[in-house]
Amino acid sequence: MTVGSAPSLLRFVTAGSVDDGKSTLIGRLLYDAKGLMRDQVRALGQGRNRTEPDEGDLDLALVTDGLEAEREQGITIDVAYRYFATPNRSFIIADAPGHEQYTRNLVTAASTADVVVVLVDAARTQGKPLKIQTRRHMTLAHMLGLTIVVAVNKMDAVGWSKSVFEDLASKARHLARALGAEPHAIVPISAKAGDNVVERRGTDAWYAGPTLMDVLETVPALDLAARGPLRMPVQRVAVQDGRRLYQGRVESGLVRVGDPVVVAPSRRTSTVAAIETFDGPLGVAVAGQSVSLVLADDLDVARGDLLAAPGVPLAHAVVADLCWLDETPWRPGTKYLLKQGAATSQARIDAIVHVRDVAGLSEARPADGLSLNDIAQVRLKAGMPLLADRFEDVPAVGGFVLIDPLTNQTAAAGMIQAAA
């Protein structure tokens, strides 16, 4: 283990409506940052000849549209992950689809990202309100705790008009503020032409700000987990020489030998006698490390339990934000499987507090049903006590999924707001 010298890692996701240029932007970033190999560039050339194509002939969206159906339809259906590095930073990019039908794939991508780059199409949005998918995506990204960066794309198509940019930047800022956020940066670009993405070119004299790459290389990567209270879900129990080793990953906080711990949900207490790994014992383990803990007392601890710092909140009922991700709507009264950490319990949605009106934002509509892509707040009751950490305080354990026990589909993503 080294002490923080490696270049930092940033995970970001692109978002925005269909044809706003998300895949083209990622192709552009990779192409200009030399993140593509020669054979991969050849495959982007139209006509698919085996010679090196000119840059103008490249269909940059093909970098990530890796499925046959995507290439046939010219749209992105599911998330593609791409990996590249500059001298200053390593990146994992998730290229998410814009179609409303595939919103759940955007949610999948955003759940593991630090930053969202929301694209706005300058040519088609000028003088109009932001599109519904732009609103939906920014809402979801903010709920998932991402830092928001806005890229106003296709600036070449509006002649790099300062007034068009400022109008759209103001609308994007207004939307973010309505959600309780502040965009980290708003950048004018043309992904297709490569203007102001990696290279500072094409921009008009009025723009003196950073390129999109400048922003991505400097936006802080967030590591909330390191500062939270100890949370370690127990994934497995191993036995060695009569000792029981509780195996799991420290999802939040840190643990030292000698620290007091509480077992959830039994609330029994003990202290940490040892922190073991294949590579030898440790004195301290931090968020992100997979370890095996030995406790001083002989307690009944099983897979699905949680080792935590004293004071861990537990509740049978919680209020949670929920994104419905399944084509099968919510069936009132049905028990779903709730997966949180290493635990799976039965849970039932008791009441819908509200369903968010994505278009209006400011108004939430009452509802008695939940269907695909609905963003709601619900009251939920579980068969076993849930760990009631608020998602915004301890994202690693404040998030859960609901699984439909009939179909095994992942039906909803939830973020705990409060014990109820």
């Binding site: 190999m37 290493a342 994202p395």
Partner: protein, 323 residues
């Protein structure tokens, strides 16, 4: 009726230093985090699945995966068997390595042979020397059915190929072994859904987020042994379609081709009829990592005859059950 403001996490930038009075915490580097993520995935799915197995070919990615599986379950042994789908067209050195590694850790090694599927008539090839690479899917699905596996760990990485870049870490297969890329389950945070109906299974890719460079760096850091063909050695090859094709009994030179002996190494190892080496003088891991940093052709682009056939070759094979 309710506030429309969604409160957000009070985020703290990395590198801000520890709070006053608190000791400096050990920092995890990129490989530490990738290893820990893989351990978390292995433990999670192994805890849920009734009958998991780990796909093990003796190639470098499966060597890394097996090494991490040992770490994940230690002090217990790896709690599932290893499964190799053997085309019969192998580099002998790799098979010897496979057997030695499995024996060294006392693992249960199951070998499913494409030869047996040919004998059963479930695999039919036009010519005996045809590539058996695509036929592996049939043999694999037969092995899954025979043993009742419900979760298969594999060493595939998203950086290898465009359709792999699209796949979930835990990826559902129906009872015909088919992947439906247009209807993948959502996968949130690190909460994996490995639930299946009888006859279905999941493929699980703990190394999804690793790059080729990460794999080589980790092999060097952990001193993981590898088959010798991964290091530069002289080998008889012919130049074909921009690739160096090894000259073997199964892959003889075509009329008009000139056989040359060059210093080469394999970046990836698979069926002998479709895996090509790259020109290299790298005889140790440090030199391989240096070459990886300078490579301007992707791992599969430089080495695989089978993927060049069509843009969608891998996706089609994957939909049919290939790994």
């Amino acid at each position: 009726m309710t506030t429309d403001v969604i409160t957000r996490p009070a985020r703290t930038p990395v590198g801000g230093g520890p709070p006053p009075g608190q000791a400096r915490r050990p920092a995890l580097d990129a490989l530490d985090r990738l290893e820990s993520e893989a351990i978390h995935i292995l433990r999670d799915v192994a805890g849920h699945a009734a009958r998991p197995a780990l796909l093990y070919s003796g190639g470098k990615d499966s060597a890394v995966l097996l090494h991490i599986a040992r770490k994940a379950f230690w002090p217990a042994p790896v709690p599932f068997p290893l499964l190799h789908v053997d085309t019969g067209h192998n580099f002998p050195d790799v098979i010897a390595y496979r057997d030695a590694q499995a024996a060294a850790i006392g693992a249960d090694l199951l070998v499913a042979r494409v030869e047996d599927s040919i004998a059963r008539g479930t695999v039919r090839l036009a010519r005996a020397t045809d590539s058996r690479n695509a036929a592996q899917a049939v043999t694999l699905l037969e092995a899954i059915e025979e043993h009742g596996f419900d979760a298969l760990f594999g060493g595939a990485r998203r950086d290898e190929e465009k359709s792999r870049a699209k796949e979930r870490i835990v990826s559902h297969r129906d009872s015909f072994g088919q992947w439906n890329p247009k209807a993948q389950r959502p996968e949130l945070w690190n909460l994996y859904n490995a639930r299946v109906q009888p006859g279905e299974h999941v493929r699980v890719f703990p190394l999804s987020n690793w790059t080729e460079r990460d794999v080589w760096s980790y092999i060097a850091r952990e001193a993981i042994p590898l088959p010798a063909i991964y290091f530069a050695h002289p080998r008889a090859v012919v130049r074909r379609g921009g690739l160096l094709v090894p000259v073997t009994d199964l892959t003889p030179p075509l009329p008009g081709e000139t056989v040359e002996t060059l210093s080469v190494r394999f970046r990836t190892v698979g069926d002998i009829t479709c895996t090509c080496p790259v020109a290299s003088t790298a005889t140790d891991l440090a030199a391989i990592i240096d070459e990886t940093d300078l490579a301007d052709v992707s791992e599969r682009g430089a080495t695989r005859l089978d993927d060049q056939a069509s843009e969608a070759a891998m996706e089609r094979r994957k939909r049919e059950g290939y790994f």
